[in-house]
């Protein structure tokens, strides 16, 4: 590759990265500026917005709620989906086709659309979970399913599943024992990477939260939206704090998945 080629490729990469970084930078500057009027640069710098944010009980509670339902939904998803995938890959491989179709449904049905049905079905009927965290856990579960399925399916394909279980059988283990002692540990990395990725995604979820529970169970994103009329500096500090968490989790996810590929 010639020198000009090299410079070209680097400038394209840096250029697009700068483009992507601009909104983040702007928000960060806004969050550390004491005030910023109709000028290109802020008037002064200060960390007071972060202090204000992290001392706001309402924020802590909203953040806590988001963490709680996201982790609950993911835990539920992991516990339910692992046996399913084992069954699909060990006993009934033909069913994989069916499931490949099923997990496409969350893509063909955006959250707004699902909410139409969910509101009618679960508002005042026999299962009145609208407005409670339960409906969020249920819907977040469906959001996480495609991510988890894909990641775990990839991990399964990388294993020589039948040979592993056959060896375990020959050594005296039951299938259940083999599943817990051999299969699960081998899925760990892929599973964790998918969990971190899904977690980031769920923390940013707004649609279901807004339409199905609103302020009755205020999650982080609802709180953020409700704060839009207050100081822009405050909301920027909020956005940056949220983004720092996302940063951490996606970084962890990529560290884990790199471990798989090495």
């Amino acid at each position: 590759m010639t020198k000009t080629d090299h410079y070209y490729h680097q400038s394209v990469v840096y250029g697009v990265c700068t483009l992507l970084f601009l909104p983040i930078l702007a928000t960060f500057l806004y969050s550390i500026s004491s005030s910023w009027g109709a000028t290109i640069l802020p008037d002064g710098l200060s960390f007071k917005w972060y202090l204000q944010l992290w001392q706001d009980v309402r924020f802590i509670e909203a953040f806590g709620r988001s963490l709680l339902i996201s982790s609950s939904a993911l835990l539920l998803c992991a516990v339910l989906i692992l046996p399913v995938m084992f069954v699909l890959f060990y006993y009934f491989p033909k069913l994989q086709k069916v499931f490949n179709f099923l997990i496409l449904l969350p893509f063909a049905v955006p959250p707004v659309v699902s909410s139409v049905g969910l509101l009618q079905l679960y508002a005042d009927s026999s299962l009145p979970i609208v407005g409670t965290p339960w409906i969020l856990i249920g819907t977040y579960f469906t959001i996480a399913v495609p991510f988890m399925y894909r990641a775990i399916a990839n991990s399964f394909s990388a294993l020589n599943l039948h040979d592993l279980i056959d060896s375990a059988h020959l050594l005296g283990a039951t299938t259940t024992q083999a599943f817990f002692m051999i299969v699960l540990p081998n899925l760990k990395k892929g599973l964790l990477a998918a969990l971190f990725l899904s977690f980031s995604f769920l923390l940013g979820e707004f649609v279901f939260a807004n339409m199905l529970v609103g302020t009755r169970y205020e999650t982080l994103q609802i709180y953020l939206y409700n704060m839009r009329q207050t100081s822009g500096h405050f909301t920027s500090a909020l956005v940056i704090s949220y983004f720092a968490f996302i940063f951490l989790f996606t970084w962890l996810a990529s560290r884990l998945s790199r471990g798989i590929n090495s």
């Binding site: 680097q10 394209v12 990469v13 992507l20 500057l29 290109i40 955006p110 699902s114 049905g117």
Partner: protein, 299 residues
């Protein structure tokens, strides 16, 4: 007794088959494990879908096509479809092209930079919805830093973030990381030696890309394009947060009919939803066919 000796693989297969058929009903026992998952999935994904499809054909407790008539006769609703589709197609095309150049260059820079940028792209892919809308207001709102900068440079008079073009900028922003992450593995299909062979046979860069690289990548490009469109059509949070629900796209239209202050019409919302699902379903179906085609090419 057994004078026939089976070759090894056949022996293994018959052994496994025997294991699975001893006690013919017990073979189906593992299927119970699917139940909890399927139940939950049904309750929260499938049941709403069924309600929507059925009730789109219901008006005042009676079967009717009136909802669909309303949809096709309402300029307002039709405008929401055209706005959504315009935003989807335009943002997907622009971000696809940008991502194409981005990934092509990304694969040629040194690995330290490349890994850092891939991690960064992963993180920005999560930057969407309400937080992104706020960030764009700061950057491109009436008093936004970039707006003021561009005004000072004389490039624009004013920039309406809350209209068509502002939204387009927003959509392009959140589509780029997705497009990049989808295209990145697709470039594995391009062997390094093809470029070398094509160079030695006299082709310049442009000819290499138009005659060899892009044709080979085309299933992946099309598949990515389609996912981008589906992603854009379904977007709600960013639009809603940016325009407070005032810009007319399909998702906002649907939401306004089932929540909010005005008169609620869930069945009409259902009809619009069905149409949206049909569009998205078609898109997903095409994508699956394309993925299968690229598998066949490889084999």
């Amino acid at each position: 007794m057994n004078s026939i000796v089976l070759p090894d693989t056949a022996q293994i297969k018959t052994a496994r088959f025997a294991k699975l058929t001893t006690g013919s009903l017990s073979r189906f026992k593992p299927l119970w494990l699917l139940l909890p998952f399927l139940l939950l999935f049904f309750l929260f994904q499938i049941a709403p879908m069924i309600w929507i499809i059925i009730n789109s054909f219901v008006v005042e407790q009676q079967a009717s096509l009136e909802n669909y008539h309303t949809v096709f006769n309402s300029a307002f609703i039709l405008q929401s479809f055209s706005n959504s589709l315009w935003l989807a197609f335009t943002s997907s095309s622009v971000s696809l092209v940008l991502a194409l150049f981005f990934v092509a260059s990304l694969r040629k820079v040194d690995s330290a930079l490349r890994d850092a940028v891939v991690a960064f792209t992963n993180m920005t892919a999560n930057f969407s919805g309400v937080p992104l809308a706020f960030a764009f207001i700061i950057l491109l709102g009436f008093n936004g830093a970039l707006t003021l900068l561009l005004k000072e440079a004389g490039l624009i008079d004013d920039f309406n973030l809350y209209g068509q073009w502002g939204l387009l900028a927003l959509y392009i922003y959140f589509q780029i990381p997705l497009a990049t992450l989808l295209l990145y593995p697709a470039f594995d299909a391009l062997h390094e030696d093809w470029q070398a062979a094509s160079d030695l046979l006299g082709a310049n860069r442009w000819q290499f890309w138009t005659k060899i690289a892009l044709p080979v990548l085309s299933p992946a490009l099309l598949g990515t394009f389609i996912i981008l469109i589906a992603n854009a059509i379904g977007a709600y949070a960013s639009v809603y947060a940016l325009t407070s629900g005032n810009y007319n796209v399909v998702t906002v239209r649907i939401a306004s009919l089932v929540s909010g202050d005005i008169f609620l019409e869930p069945n009409l919302a259902a009809a619009i939803s069905v149409l949206l699902m049909v569009i998205l379903g078609l898109i997903t179906f095409i994508n699956q066919r394309l993925i299968r085609r690229s598998y066949h090419d490889k084999n």
